[in-house]
């Protein structure tokens, strides 16, 4: 089992959710984060004072999957999260991290492991 952690552009969330559904990944957890990376931030203005803001709004997905689903999940995200024209990726489109996962327990009925995922 793996925990797949993906940081994506907020406006790609719907597409990614759709792509995951297509590969039969139906469960995930989403949160608001801010990223700092190669992509440069933006400038805000306050009464003539320019301010550099280098944290950029991103969305973070956590998806626990069984081994068989790891690659399809990654492929689905990579494909759907790209925001450039013609499905090309661009800086800022995000990262996917794959973490080992020892166990999963479903609260409602206590199911454990791959079953409970």
């Amino acid at each position: 089992m793996k925990l797949i952690l993906a940081i994506i552009q907020p406006h790609r969330l719907e597409a990614v959710k759709q792509a995951l559904t297509d590969v039969e990944v139906f469960r995930l957890t989403v949160s608001d984060v801010q990223g700092y990376g190669r992509q440069k931030g933006h400038t805000e203005y306050f009464r003539g004072q320019a301010m550099q803001v280098n944290l950029i709004r991103k969305v973070r997905l956590e998806i626990a999957v069984n081994e068989a689903f790891v690659q399809p999940t990654i492929d689905a995200i990579v494909k759907a999260a790209r925001s450039g024209p013609n499905g090309k990726g661009q800086v800022g489109d995000g990262k996917i991290f794959v973490l080992p996962l020892d166990n999963v327990i479903r609260v409602s009925d206590g199911t454990k492991g791959g079953e409970g995922i």
Binding site: P10, L13, E14, D32, K58
Partner: protein, 492 residues
């Protein structure tokens, strides 16, 4: 194609039905118009006189334009108290109940204005021909649906009309000014039962309460009913508005029960909104208090001054009281103090000597602070302190009116003018309001409970009333765009 889909949609049947209903009503209105003058009482020769075109009959006015201008502005000012109250209350509750709490105020605007138009005004300010009946309720069909309300002439023949009539205003605006009072009073009750009452039940409750509690009480004191005849005074509603709503709130809170998780449910979602709401309340309260002079006269100005000074002092006093208690002066404290001061000065502002207003404010800030602590001792869940602030502050103000009334202001002598009797009268009126409101509210809720569920389900209480009842979210701070998928028209 678009239209065909529409016609097929199951809900679309309603559209045609309703449109038809509107058409029918329009027709009905037309017929009605021709019979109305007959149906209405003899004083309502509205449609009979056909004034000259364009300028109409407005030239035949007998009212004072300056006072009319002030009453128009005052009525608008009292109206803004509802959005103000919505923010004031809404900012204190938990985020998940924000909109539902605001809706208690907005729905009062909807429900009570219509009730007032239909019969509420008559019940409160109509003059009954039977003098015994008149002691208790107004009954004058010419004031039903405003059929006999001449839009042209100044207010006359209405109980509670502007004092002495030196500066009369058109009855239409007197009516609307009083309508706003009838609206805000039940809206105040929402503070006690916040975060747990069903929306439909709330709408029904305020309709009944407005009719059975507010209208009679207003009639007793302002509609030349029995309390007025005894000599009790209430300039802008300490008894009629604040005691009645605060006491009813307490009764309702007890009968409906505590919120799940009480007392660990205090989690104000946006106190900045509460402060803004308090600011709008103060602002609108000038219409409430100074407008209660029914004229742009010196009395209105004196009421304005008394209101301002008492309010400011009460804000400081509340801050002082909590500083003594906890070594903290909070912003909600100052806002609550302002409201407490406004409540207490409401019955007094048009009677008491100018120098007494800071004393009343000081008392209000301190007493209402402690009034808000009572619930933690007895354990009932007066969520937003409608009782602690409005009933306590209203009672205090009603009694202090008896203490500080000065003949120099409005001809009524209080204790400071040697007339201790007025204090007793004020106690009587306030006590009557306490008993009447408590008993009637208990009956209304008891009866409602026989027929319906008035409290939301546990599921909805957990999820929040905004989503559970109204299907909406009050403040969405998500970055995720396009999170929702529109369901095609007619698909559900």
């Amino acid at each position: 194609m678009g239209f065909r889909r529409l016609a097929r949609a199951s809900t679309a049947r309603w559209m045609f039905g309703l449109t038809a209903a509107v058409l029918v009503m329009t027709m009905a209105g037309q017929i009605f118009a021709q019979t109305a003058p007959i149906a209405a009482s003899a004083t309502a020769a509205v449609a009979a006189t056909a004034p000259a075109p364009v300028t109409g009959a407005w030239a035949q006015q007998t009212y004072d334009t300056g006072s009319t201008a002030w009453m128009l502005a005052s009525t608008a000012l009292v109206m803004i108290m509802m959005p103000g109250l919505a923010l004031y209350y809404g900012g204190i509750v938990r985020k998940k109940n924000f909109l539902a709490t605001m809706m208690t105020s907005y729905s009062a605007l909807g429900v009570i204005i219509v009730q007032w138009f239909l019969f509420g005004y008559m019940l409160s300010f109509g003059t009954s021909t039977d003098p015994t009946l008149q002691k208790f309720i107004g009954w004058d069909p010419s004031r039903l649906l405003m059929l006999g309300l001449n839009p042209i002439t100044a207010v006359t023949g209405v109980a509670g009309a502007p004092a002495g009539g030196q500066f009369p205003v058109p009855e239409t605006i007197f009516n609307m000014f009083q309508a706003m009072f009838a609206v805000i009073t039940p809206a105040l009750i929402a503070g006690s039962i916040a975060e747990r009452m069903k929306y439909g039940a709330w709408c029904l409750f305020i309709l009944l309460w407005g009719t059975l509690v507010y209208d009679p009480l207003a009639h007793f004191i302002w509609g030349n009913g029995w309390l007025a005849q005894l000599g009790a005074v209430d300039f802008a509603g300490g008894t009629v508005v604040h005691i009645s709503s605060g006491v009813s709130g307490l009764v309702a809170a007890i009968m409906i029960g505590k919120r799940k998780g009480h007392p660990n449910v205090i989690q104000p979602n946006s106190l900045f909104n509460t402060l803004t709401g308090a600011g709008l309340l103060w602002f609108g309260w000038y219409g409430f208090n100074a407008g209660s002079a029914n004229a742009a006269n010196g009395l209105a100005c004196a009421a304005f001054l008394n209101t301002t000074v008492a309010t400011a002092m009460a804000g400081l006093a509340w801050n002082f009281a909590e500083w003594m208690h906890h070594r903290r002066a909070t912003s909600l404290g100052m806002a609550s103090g302002f409201v407490a001061g406004l409540v207490a000065i409401t019955p007094a502002c048009g009677y008491v000597a100018l120098w007494s207003s800071p004393i009343i404010g000081l008392a209000a800030g301190i007493v209402c602070y402690w009034g808000a602590q009572i619930k933690t001792i007895f354990g009932y869940d007066d969520a937003l302190d409608a009782f602690g602030v409005h009933a306590v502050g209203g009672f205090l103000g009603a009694v202090l009116t008896g203490v500080f009334a000065s003949t120099a202001i409005n001809g009524v002598a209080g204790w400071i003018d040697g007339n201790f009797h007025q204090v007793l009268l004020q106690f009587l009126a306030a006590g009557d309001a306490v008993v009447y409101a408590a008993v009637m509210t208990a009956i209304i809720i008891f009866v409602m409970k026989l027929f319906m569920e008035i409290r939301v389900s546990e599921q909805v209480e957990i999820e929040g009333l905004d989503l559970g009842i109204h299907g909406e979210v009050g403040l969405d701070t998500n970055t995720f765009p396009e999170q929702s998928v529109a369901i095609p028209f007619g698909a559900n």
